[in-house]
Symmetry: C2
C-alpha cells in the first residue's frame, strides 16, 4: 500500500476527516494511530439470512463481539457511528469471502454490494489501548511496532444458530501491578472488549506456547511479567470463517473503520 | 474466651447492638461474621507525640493503612464511626504494648487510659470479603475456617518520621477469571484496602513460600488458581512493633471494632 496522506497528517485528526481521506484514496494504510481519540471498529458484513443469528451471537458473546453499530439490510449507512459514513467506501481495503474462500481484497465494495447485506461494526482494542497508554502503561506490541499476539483458546463462545467456536484472545504482557491497573481501566470500556478474560497461566485456557500465536506476532514476556488476555475481535471473523457462509465481507487486517464516536464516550464511568 | 451471646444472635445484628454486647461483656469472641453489613476496623492507639507522624504514615500509605476514623487526643470517642462509640470498652480484648513488649491483654482500657492517647481506626478486609462473597466468589480461608495467610513483602512503605518498614499483604487464591472479578469489586472499596497490590508470581514481592505465611494460616493454592495479594492492616501493627514506641495499644487479633457505618457506604461507585 502507498499513502498520499500520512498517519500524522492533521487532516486525518478526526474520524470524519480520516474517512474522507480513505474514501477518496488519499489515505490507504493501516488505521492504527489515525484520528487519535476516535473509536475504530472491526467490520463483518453478512447476508440478511444470517444476520439474525449473528446478531444473537454478538449479544450472547459481548466480550469478543462488542457490537457498536449495525446497518439495516441493504443499507450502507451506520448513522450511529458517523452521519456521513458509507460502509462501501470508508475502509481502505476489504476482504470478500465466498463459501469460506477469500475471493478478493478490493478497496471499495461498489462492485460486490448486494441489497441483502447487513453490516456489523464491533469495538476494537485500539480504544482501550489508548486508555492504557494515557495512564502510562506500556503496550509491548506497540513498543515493538508489531501486531498484538492472538491465540485460539479452549473457551467456547455461546453458540447462536450456525455461529459457534472458540474464543480468540489477544495477549499483552505486564508487570503484576500494571496488570491490576489495566483491569481497572479496561473495565470502564465494556463496548471495546472490557476487562480481561484471563490472567496468568496460559495453559488454563488451552494456550500451549505464548511464543507461537495463532494470529499476529509473538512478543517477549519477561520474568517479572504475567500475560494478560483480552477477548479479541478476531473471534467473530474466526467463527464466520468456520461456518463458511455463502457470502461475507470483513475489513482487511489493520484497516479498521474509523468512526465519529470518541473513545471517552464509551467509558461507562 | 466464652460468649454469652453467639455470633448469630439477632441482638448482634447491627454495629451498635454488637458494641453494646461487647461493652457489657455479653459477647467476647471474634467479630468475624458479627453485625453483617457493618464496617469493622483495626485499632491502633498511640501517644499524641507520635500521632502526627503516624497520621502522615497512613496518608502516605492508604492501601495498607486506610484510615476510617481518628480521635482527638485523650478522647475515647470516634463519632464518625458511631455516636455511642467508646474506644475504651467497645472491643472485646486489647493488646497493650510498652517499649515494644506486650504487657497485657485487657478486655477494656479503663486502667491504662491516658489523656494523651490518640485512636486510629483503619479499614479491614472483612468489608471487601463480604462484597466478594456477595458476588459468589469463594474466599479460601473462610471456606477452611482459618485465618487469612499474611506475608511480609519486599514492598517498602513510604516512611513518615519513625514509622517505616515493609508492607504486609494478605493472600487469597482464586481462579484467574475470579481474580479479575475480585479486582473489579475491591477497586470500589479504597477505604478498606481497595484493589490488590499484586497478583501471580509471589517471588516478585519477596515471598519465597506461600505455604509459610508470616501471620495467619497457610491455605492451598490449586493448580488452576493464582495467588491474589491485598495490602493488609497488619502492616501498621508491624511498623509500630518495629519502632517500639514507649506505649501503644492495638486490638487483639480477630477482635475488631464494629462500627455503625455500612460497608456499602464505603463503595466509591
Amino acid at each position: 500500500m502507498t499513502a498520499a496522506a500520512s498517519r500524522d497528517d492533521s487532516a486525518l485528526a478526526n474520524g470524519l476527516a480520516a474517512r474522507l481521506a480513505i474514501r477518496s484514496g488519499a489515505y490507504d494504510g493501516p488505521t492504527s494511530g489515525l484520528a487519535r481519540g476516535y473509536v475504530q471498529g472491526n467490520l463483518a458484513i453478512l447476508p440478511k439470512a444470517l444476520a439474525g443469528d449473528f446478531l444473537r451471537f454478538c449479544q450472547l458473546n459481548p466480550k469478543p463481539c462488542p457490537l457498536i453499530g449495525m446497518s439495516a439490510p441493504g443499507d450502507w449507512r451506520v448513522p450511529e457511528l458517523g452521519a456521513d459514513l458509507d460502509i462501501r467506501t470508508d475502509i481502505c481495503r476489504y476482504r470478500v469471502w465466498r463459501d469460506g474462500a477469500l475471493v478478493g481484497e478490493p478497496t471499495d465494495l461498489n462492485e460486490v454490494w448486494r441489497d441483502d447485506l447487513v453490516s456489523f461494526v464491533l469495538g476494537c482494542s485500539f480504544s482501550f489501548e489508548e486508555a492504557l497508554m494515557a495512564d502510562g502503561l506500556e503496550i509491548r506490541h506497540i513498543t515493538l511496532d508489531c501486531t498484538v499476539p492472538m491465540f485460539r483458546t479452549n473457551i467456547a463462545t455461546a453458540a447462536a444458530g450456525p455461529f459457534h467456536g472458540p474464543m480468540v484472545v489477544s495477549m499483552r504482557p505486564m508487570k503484576p501491578a500494571d496488570a491490576i491497573r489495566a483491569i481497572q481501566i479496561t473495565t470502564r470500556f465494556p463496548a471495546v472488549h472490557g476487562a480481561p478474560v484471563h490472567i496468568g497461566k496460559p495453559e488454563l485456557i488451552g494456550i500451549q506456547d505464548l511464543g507461537k500465536p495463532d494470529y499476529g506476532d509473538a512478543v517477549p514476556v519477561r520474568d517479572d511479567e504475567i500475560p494478560v488476555f483480552w477477548a479479541c475481535g478476531v473471534t467473530p471473523q474466526s467463527v464466520i470463517a468456520t461456518m463458511r457462509p455463502e457470502f461475507s465481507i470483513t475489513h482487511y487486517p489493520g484497516c479498521m473503520l474509523v468512526t465519529d464516536r470518541r473513545n471517552t464516550e464509551f467509558a461507562v464511568l
